[in-house]
Symmetry: C2
Subunit: 274 residues, 2 copies
C-alpha cells in the first residue's frame, strides 16, 4: 500500500521547505502513522482523497486536545502552507469537521474549535479519532455506561424481532470469535459483528444508527482490554447464552444476560486503564 506521506509529498512539491519549518519530519511521520491506524480500524481499504486525510489529521488534533476547545485554527492561508494542499482541499476538509460540530467558522473571526459539548461524539469518525490516542478513563466509563443503557434493551427487542437469518449470522460470528480469539483483529471483528447484528435485529432505525459508533467502541476497548498482560475472563459463555436467549425469543433473559456480559467486559477493561 502506498503510504500517506508519499501521497502528501507528491502534492507538496515546491513547498517542502515551508512544511519542514512548521512541522518537523518526525512529527509529520507520527501523524502519518495515526492516520494509517485509523484507516485500518475503520476498515476502508480504498485510496483516500486528500481532503479526507486532512479532515482526519485536523480532526484527531482536535479530539485529542492537541488543539484545545476554543482555540483558533490557523487561517486558511497558513493552513494551506502547513499541510501543503490547495485551499479547495483544506476548505472541504474543514466543512466535514463543521458538519461534525468540531469547529465553526465565521468571517474575519476565523475558524475555532467548538466547546466539547457541541461535538458529535457518537459520529463514528469522531469516536475512532478519539481512540487514536489512549482514551481517558472517563471516556471508557461513559461508553460502557451508554452501552449498559442501550444494549440490554436492544437485546430484548432483538429477541422479539430477530429473523432466522440474523440468528445464523450471530452464530457464524461466534464461531469466528472462538476460532480467532479476541487478541487477533479477525476475532474482534467477529465480536463487533455479533453485537451489530443485535442492534440491526431491533428493526429500529435509530438504534441501528448506533451500530457503527458502538461497534467502533467495542473494537477499540476490546483491543485495550487485551493489550495489557493481564488475562481477562472468558466472554464466550455469556455470548453463547445471549445468542440462545435471542434465538429462543426470550426478551427478559436476553436483557439479563446482555447486562451481565457488559458488566464483565466493563470490569475487565477498566482494570487495564486504572
Amino acid at each position: 500500500m502506498r503510504s500517506l506521506q508519499e501521497t502528501a509529498s507528491g502534492h507538496s512539491v515546491g513547498t517542502s521547505d515551508v512544511e519542514k519549518k512548521h512541522l518537523g519530519e518526525s512529527e509529520r511521520a507520527a501523524k502519518g502513522v495515526f492516520v494509517e491506524t485509523v484507516r485500518q480500524v475503520s476498515g476502508s481499504g480504498a485510496a483516500m482523497a486528500m481532503h479526507d486525510q486532512i479532515a482526519i489529521s485536523v480532526g484527531i488534533e482536535i479530539v485529542t486536545g492537541e488543539l484545545p476547545e476554543g482555540s483558533a485554527l490557523p487561517t486558511e492561508a497558513e493552513a494551506v502552507e502547513l499541510h501543503g494542499v490547495s485551499r479547495t482541499v483544506y476548505r472541504e476538509a474543514i466543512r466535514a469537521l463543521v458538519g461534525k460540530g468540531l469547529v465553526s467558522s465565521r468571517k474575519k473571526a476565523g475558524t475555532r474549535v467548538n466547546p466539547r459539548r457541541e461535538w458529535s461524539l457518537l459520529d463514528p469518525d469522531v469516536l475512532s479519532w478519539m481512540f487514536s490516542a489512549k482514551p481517558t478513563k472517563a471516556a471508557v466509563q461513559s461508553l460502557f455506561e451508554l452501552r449498559l443503557i442501550v444494549e440490554p434493551s436492544a437485546a430484548a427487542l432483538a429477541a422479539l424481532r430477530r429473523t432466522d437469518e440474523q440468528v445464523s449470522l450471530m452464530r457464524d460470528a461466534l464461531v469466528d470469535m472462538e476460532r480467532h480469539g479476541l487478541r487477533k483483529a479477525a476475532g474482534r471483528e467477529a465480536d463487533g459483528k455479533f453485537h451489530s447484528v443485535i442492534l440491526e435485529a431491533t428493526r429500529n432505525d435509530f438504534l441501528r444508527a448506533l451500530t457503527k459508533p458502538i461497534s467502533t467502541a467495542i473494537r477499540w476497548t476490546t483491543l485495550l482490554k487485551f493489550s495489557s498482560g493481564r488475562q481477562p475472563r472468558d466472554p464466550m459463555k455469556l455470548h453463547r447464552d445471549l445468542l440462545t436467549a435471542i434465538a429462543d425469543g426470550n426478551p427478559v433473559q436476553a436483557h439479563e444476560v446482555s447486562m451481565q456480559l457488559l458488566q464483565q467486559a466493563r470490569e475487565d477493561t477498566e482494570v487495564m486503564i486504572t
Copy 2:
C-alpha cells in the same frame, strides 16, 4: 429577514434561464420554504452560507426520499447549473453530506445516495431534515422507542449526579413551559430545554451527545402532537413529578416517572399520525 430566494438569485445572475428550465419557479419557491422552516426550528438565526443552504436542500431531498437510496445525483457540472452556484460551493455542500453518511462519491462513477443503513440518523441535521416532511409512523415509533430506552436511565443518573444549578434550570424551564403552553414555540423550546438538562446532568459525554438529536425530536413530535385538533393529556404534572424525583436524588422514582411521561407522550402522539 432577507429571503433565501433573493440570496440565491443574487448569485445566479446570468444563468436564470438555465435555472428555470431545470427547476420551475414554484418548485424552487417551495424548496425555499422548506429551508426556511428547518432554519427556524433548528434555531440558528444567523445568515447562512451558500454551501450550507445547498447541503440542506440536497439533504432534504435525500432523507425525504425524493432522491431514492442508491440513485445517482446529477454530475457536478449539472448540479452547479441547477443550483446556480460555483463548483466550490456545491462540492463543499456534498462533503458535508458525505460526512453524515448520506452519499458517497467515487471518481468517474459519480455521487450516489447511500443505503439508509449508512445514514447518521442521530445527526441533528439529518433528523431535522427528516421532519421537514411529515415523518412516517415508523419513524415516530422508533424515536419514542429510543427515548424510552435512554431517557428513564438518564433520568436515574441525573437524580444521582445533578447539580443544584441544573435543578433550578429545570425549574425555570417548567415555569416557561406552563406559562406559554406547548402550542407556542416558546413552550416547546422550554420542554426541549427541560429534557436537555436531564441528559446534561448525567455527566456522561456520550449521553450528552444525544441531547441535540433528542431535543430536536421532542420539538418536532410535540409540534405534531398539538397540530391536530385533538386535545392531548396535560403533561405538566408528570414533568413536575420528574423534577421532584431528580431534585430529591431518587433514581428509582425518576426512572419510573420518566417512563410514564414518555409512554403518555407516545400514546398521545401516535394517535395523531395513525
